[in-house]
């Protein structure tokens, strides 16, 4: 009697709890299906593919650990790693400096500032493929306006080989990336700058700190978490660069601007070696997750 009574008292809320539980599952079921089928499954699959000889067409055969062993023999990949690291270092430094400069210029809500914020961000709304083709035309020696402009200003005397030499190709690509992403990073830093209370600045000024001291002693330290986020996004994005090199330099001249992801792409779809590409993917994945964890721990 006592028992049944207790059960009766419990049954109403527990039925309700069960129905809330089922409802929760129903609402999140589409998320679970998408994440399970299109994220978890391919993640497992890429691991399995990396252990097989996996041609684009035809039967896969188990060959572990060959795909991993031959990574070191792939001269294009070794060069690509070095090139990508160099590209990442230069891009991240320049992007941080430019984005921080822009953010500080548009920090205060003054008349007309909204226009400038929009102007700096606008290239970010343009797709990377479109931006690459835009620069491809703009820097073309016959068609683009840059060479005539530089010559008219007597800065150069003949057309510049914008993507014709390895160094210039890197320089031009970084210019493209700065144009496309500076505004986006400015927006990130702006959220950080606006979180700094104005009282802190006022206190520093009344203590007689000059602009440089305010910048190095207050702005930079208080901006650290936001800068860290920007650095992580920039480093990760640059290490995985693909579009800009594929569209703009096409890896040239002489494979001097082949990024790591371009090697993955070429292995898969030009050399038809999906297993090798999967092994490279796994290595990149592990390296990046490790790097991200490390950066978050150090920078936060």
């Amino acid at each position: 009697m006592n028992r049944t009574g207790r059960r009766a008292a419990h049954s109403a809320p527990s039925a309700r709890w069960r129905s809330r539980k089922v409802q929760g599952w129903l609402y999140t079921a589409p998320t679970a299906v998408i994440v399970g089928v299109l994220f978890i499954a391919p993640l497992v699959l890429v691991g399995w593919m990396s252990l097989n000889r996996w041609p684009l067409l035809g039967q896969a055969t188990f060959n572990a650990p060959d795909n991993y062993l031959k990574i070191g023999d792939n001269p294009l990949f070794v060069d690509a790693v070095l090139f990508t690291l160099k590209y990442t270092a230069i891009t991240t430094v320049l992007l941080s400096a430019v984005a921080l400069g822009l953010a500080m210029l548009v920090q205060d809500r003054k008349p007309g500032i909204g226009f400038f914020r929009t102007a700096f961000f606008l290239p970010g709304a343009v797709g990377f493929a479109a931006a690459g083709l835009l620069f491809y035309g703009m820097l073309n020696n016959d068609f683009g306006p840059i060479d005539p402009l530089l010559q008219a200003l007597h800065i150069t005397s003949e057309p510049v080989k914008w993507i014709g030499t390895p160094n210039m190709a890197l320089f031009s690509t970084i210019t493209l990336v700065l144009w496309r992403f500076a505004g986006f990073n400015m927006l990130i830093l702006l959220t950080g700058l606006q979180a700094i209370p104005t009282e802190v600045y006022e206190a520093a000024r009344s203590d007689g700190a000059n602009r440089w001291q305010v910048f190095t002693k207050i702005t930079l330290p208080l901006l650290r978490p936001t800068l860290a986020l920007m650095l992580i996004l920039s480093v990760t994005g640059s290490l995985l660069a693909f579009d800009q090199f594929f569209v703009f330099t096409n890896g040239g001249p002489d494979n001097s601007t082949v990024s790591m992801v371009m090697v993955v792409y070429r292995d898969a779809f030009f050399r038809f070696d999906l297993g090798g590409a999967a092994a490279l993917s796994v290595v990149l994945l592990v390296a990046l997750v490790g790097l991200n964890t490390l950066m978050m721990r150090r920078l936060r």
Partner: protein, 254 residues
């Protein structure tokens, strides 16, 4: 005053490429006619791009609105695991997962399909979208649902008729991000679509530079750039309040 001079000079530098591209494309209006006839025709590529973007935006909105509500208001076993698994998508490099996705979509009969591509875009949008939507629903007072339930709505009707209206700003933000990402993306369609008739605009226009050996029509190319960039520029200018709010509301701090 000197700040405005610096800002103006910088604004000229940032806007110049866009203005030049527009000018170069319109210098010969025939550029647009030629581009429209390129390959399978501009109509095909633009239709593909529009279809993919519409499916991506719709899919992202439906999945993230349902999921966001589920995560904000219900407790169920596996909840945290599913949320973490979704956020883990952010940790995985785009490129490393596209090759297995290419194989997997083959198994599902969705290779070279705009539906398959859209589903992949929905997956990539999900961490940001779900996070935004969960926060938006959590910010709503519970009284809103309770009032609807008292009025005799079922929970789903309360969700569809009342709560969705209340989170409209978040829906616009999520939709805008999903549109820009799917319209502009180049790498995923490059890998997942392999037939000219199913190309989206970015892949089609990039192929203009690679099919015509040596003799690239740069005016036509800039017309292609404008067709790709124009909808994004307009949409961004109109909706930039929502874009910036997306940043501020912690979308990036998560």
């Amino acid at each position: 005053m000197s700040r405005y001079l610096t800002l103006s000079a910088l604004a000229v530098l940032f806007l110049f490429p866009l203005v030049w591209s527009g000018y170069a494309s319109f210098e010969e209006p025939s550029n647009y006619l030629e581009m429209a006839r390129f390959g399978e025709g501009l109509g095909t590529y633009a239709t593909n791009s529009v279809l993919v973007s519409v499916m991506t935006v719709a899919g992202t909105l439906v999945v993230s609105a349902l999921g966001g509500y589920g995560f904000a208001r219900f407790d169920f076993p596996g909840k945290n695991l599913l949320f973490l698994a979704t956020l883990a998508i952010l940790m995985v490099p785009y490129a490393t997962i596209l090759i297995p996705l290419y194989v997997l979509l083959g198994y599902l009969g969705l290779q070279n399909s705009l539906v398959g591509l859209s589903l992949v875009f929905v997956m990539f949008q999900l961490p940001f979208a779900l996070f935004m939507m969960r926060n938006a629903f959590e910010a709503l007072p519970r009284e809103l649902e309770e009032a609807a339930l008292v009025d005799g709505c079922g929970t789903f009707r309360a969700f569809a008729r009342i709560l969705l209206h209340a989170v409209r700003p978040a829906l616009i933000t999520v939709g805008l991000f999903a549109f820009l990402a799917s319209w502009n993306d180049f790498f995923a369609p490059l890998i997942l679509l392999n037939d000219g008739a199913s190309f989206t605009l970015p892949v089609a226009v990039v192929s203009m530079t690679q099919q015509t050996f040596g003799a690239i029509d740069y005016g036509m190319l800039q017309a292609g750039v404008m067709v790709m960039a124009f909808p994004c520029l307009i949409l961004f200018i109109v909706l930039q309040r929502h874009y910036v709010r997306g940043f501020m509301s912690g979308a990036l701090r998560g």
